[in-house]
């Protein structure tokens, strides 16, 4: 009745007392032999480029929403390191199951950001092919995608493949029953799955203290027999190193890992939200000082991997990309309404055929 003696010391599943951090808020790098990184200069520069790009497109999306071009948009500002560091560690064969805030991850996966934004625009419910970039459609029902990731990973394991599934989710999402069931299924089946919780301190207006009394979110791992890693989510080298280790752990058949990336949502929850109702500017200031891009830039400048010119080039490229996203969306026509009836079933039912006709008649009536 004692704990199985072959079980490694359960305490080894707990996160360390302080979050893993390789790059501090000032951009000072401290190596940690437990969390090695293997990035060459070009890769470091690429991380920087991706983060700047993400921020720029994000800003463009907010503008587009203000101009009535998007229905709503959920900004990732402040979370660039958490997203891009972790996504950068993925292998091509891995499959990502995002929430609605993962434009940074999408960028790394090569998904066209305009396609993602078409969903927020309301052109279509889904506008990219998930199989192509191994990046699922965004998920709005909180935490439900974690189960899809667990199931995908169970499939990968059955099939003997070396794909990992990765679920991205928020701090609030950890409260849902589905998060729990996903952690548990992945762990019971030893499935190669990594759960990346971006703890951005809020679920809309609800702060973390109202979400859980756990010492940290990473402390939830032990309850499933999976390691919980906790890292500074604004340190792109830290998030990369931790994700790299988590993927290796999962890929080698050791089951899932829970990662808590401690970060902050610098913008409103979505463009529909008014955060002044529930949080103080001073908090924002504190986090601004921990900006993930600034610190990476400092680090790269110190290493002379980046100078004013590079910074400018990257900024211009990001602006150009944002501009092309804008062009793709601005006043884009809406989709073909007759496609509403497609893909409900492989073959339309009698009702769908009738309704197809009805809508066609309505549209012709309006034209007439």
């Amino acid at each position: 009745m004692a704990i199985d003696p072959t079980f490694p010391d359960p305490r080894s599943l707990l996160p360390a007392d302080r979050p893993i951090q390789l790059l501090d808020a000032d951009g000072t790098f401290t190596e940690d032999p437990d969390w090695p990184i293997d990035l060459d200069d070009a890769q470091l520069a690429e991380l920087y480029r991706l983060m700047v790009m993400a921020r720029q497109i994000d800003a463009q999306a907010i503008t587009l929403q203000r101009q009535g071009q998007l229905g709503v948009y959920a900004s990732l500002r402040g979370q660039e390191a958490a997203q891009i560091g972790t996504a950068f560690a993925l292998a091509a064969q891995d499959f990502v199951f995002p929430s609605y805030r993962e434009m940074g991850v999408a960028l790394v996966r090569g998904v066209d950001p305009a396609d993602l934004l078409h969903v927020f625009r309301g052109t279509w419910l889904g506008a990219h092919d998930p199989a192509k970039h191994r990046f699922a459609l965004i998920t709005i029902s909180i935490a439900t995608q974690a189960l899809h990731a667990a199931g995908f990973a169970m499939g990968a394991k059955l099939d003997g493949s070396d794909s990992c599934a990765v679920a991205y989710m928020g701090d609030g999402a950890t409260s849902e029953g589905d998060a729990h069931e996903a952690f548990n299924f992945a762990s019971v089946f030893g499935a190669p799955c990594v759960f990346v919780v971006q703890n951005n301190q809020y679920a809309i207006s609800v702060p973390l203290t109202r979400q859980t009394k756990a010492p940290t979110i990473a402390h939830k791992g032990i309850g499933y027999g999976m390691p919980g890693y906790r890292c500074d989510g604004n340190d792109v080298l830290g998030t990369y190193a931790v994700m790299r280790q988590a993927l290796r752990h999962a890929r080698e058949g050791n089951g899932p890992v829970l990662i808590e990336a401690v970060t902050y949502r610098m913008e409103a929850h979505t463009t529909a939200d008014d955060p002044t109702r529930y949080r103080e500017d001073t908090e924002l200031e504190q986090w601004r000082a921990r900006d993930p891009i600034t610190r990476l830039e400092k680090f790269l400048r110190d290493r002379e991997l980046v100078d004013d010119e590079v910074v400018e080039t990257v900024a211009q490229a990001a602006k150009a990309e944002a501009q092309s996203v804008r062009a793709a969306l601005y006043d884009a026509p809406h989709g073909d309404p007759m496609e509403l009836f497609s893909h409900v079933y492989a073959e339309p039912t009698q009702q769908l055929r009738d309704q197809h006709e009805l809508l066609q008649a309505e549209l012709q009536g309006q034209d007439a």
Partner: protein, 324 residues
């Protein structure tokens, strides 16, 4: 008299109910600090304190399940599920417990719980924020299902729901939150289970509830120009359903069209049509027709106006009805 929005009327109803009975407590996601994503619970925390209005973790089964426990303790919880599409995680607690507890305990356990649900489309929202799941709940015995269409009804029916000894799912027509009415609140509480004739008419009867009642009234106005005199009935409560009023109406006009946003297949229109068929068979000069959303997943917002029943679709149905 002042112009009151539907959201404002709901806020006032919550306020007055909390004032009248200190066992009334409000909780849900973002209802306290933020005052609700639609501000329906605005300032209630400030006014009544955080013991009476508080935010919960993000878990809908948790919200309804703990509301049941709190009601067993003796409170009267009024909880919010943030959007129609997020009621589903709470489906088991609603269907297997909230609905059944009074009956299975032979009346010894009452559950005066109100679950507020902003529902329906037309606000340009993303997925899962525009659903009309009322039929998914109306099929389960033990739940009262309420769906107001005007500010004064919103006030009156929410007060009645909070006072009800039975559990109530209260569907708020979210695209009508900003609809205004000149009315002095409080208004007298309406009993649950009474439909109301919103407009008298003789050509045919439009039957609706929630957000599409206004659409039906607009359709009736437009029809008047074509010489049709349409009656409009606001069902208000889907359970208990006021069949007598509906039968009366159809006995008068001989023709009925049920209008709702939900997909037609298996929607409330089916139940109403089946009841009228059985109870007003000889009065029906045409089949009871159903106008609703298509049998498809709720579409992306730019396409939702194709999906939602509008004046044209309603009048087309009137025409089809008259052709019988």
């Amino acid at each position: 008299m002042g112009a009151v929005t539907l959201a404002g009327a709901l806020n006032r109803a919550l306020h007055d109910a909390m004032d009248a009975d200190d066992r009334v407590v409000i909780f849900g996601e973002d209802v306290a600090e933020l005052g609700g994503v639609f501000r329906v619970t605005d300032r209630l925390k400030e006014r009544f304190g955080e013991d009476r209005c508080f935010d919960t973790p993000l878990a809908e089964s948790g919200i309804v399940g703990t509301a049941i426990g709190m009601a067993m303790y003796g409170y009267r919880p009024v909880v919010e599920l943030q959007f129609d599409g997020f009621t589903y995680p709470a489906f088991e607690q609603i269907t297997s417990h909230l609905a059944k507890m009074p009956n299975r305990s032979r009346g010894t356990v009452q559950l005066p719980v109100v679950v507020r649900i902003p529902f329906g489309g037309g606000i340009g929202a993303v997925e899962h924020h525009s659903e009309s799941p009322e039929a998914l709940y109306a099929h389960t015995a033990g739940l009262k299902i309420v769906a107001p269409s005007t500010p004064s009804d919103a006030y009156a029916l929410l007060r009645a729901s909070i006072s009800s000894p039975d559990p109530v799912l209260f569907f708020e027509p979210k695209r009508r939150y900003w609809t205004k009415e000149d009315v002095e609140l409080p208004v007298t509480t309406e009993p649950l289970g009474e439909a109301v004739v919103r407009r008298e008419g003789t050509t045919a009867t439009l039957i609706s509830y929630g957000p599409t009642v206004a659409t039906c009234l607009e359709a009736a106005d437009a029809a008047a120009e074509e010489g049709w005199d349409l009656q409009v009935i606001d069902v208000r409560c889907l359970v208990p359903l006021d069949i007598a009023t509906l039968v009366d109406a159809v006995e008068g006009t001989g023709r009925a069209i049920v209008v709702h946003e939900a997909s037609v297949f298996g929607g409330m229109g089916a139940e109403i049509a089946a009841e009228l068929l059985e109870r007003a068979f000889y009065s029906l000069e045409a089949p009871v027709l159903r106008v609703g959303g298509f049998d498809i997943p709720y579409p992306a917002s730019q396409l939702e106006h194709y999906h939602l029943p509008d004046i044209d679709r309603i009048l087309d149905a009137v025409e089809r009805s008259l052709a019988f």
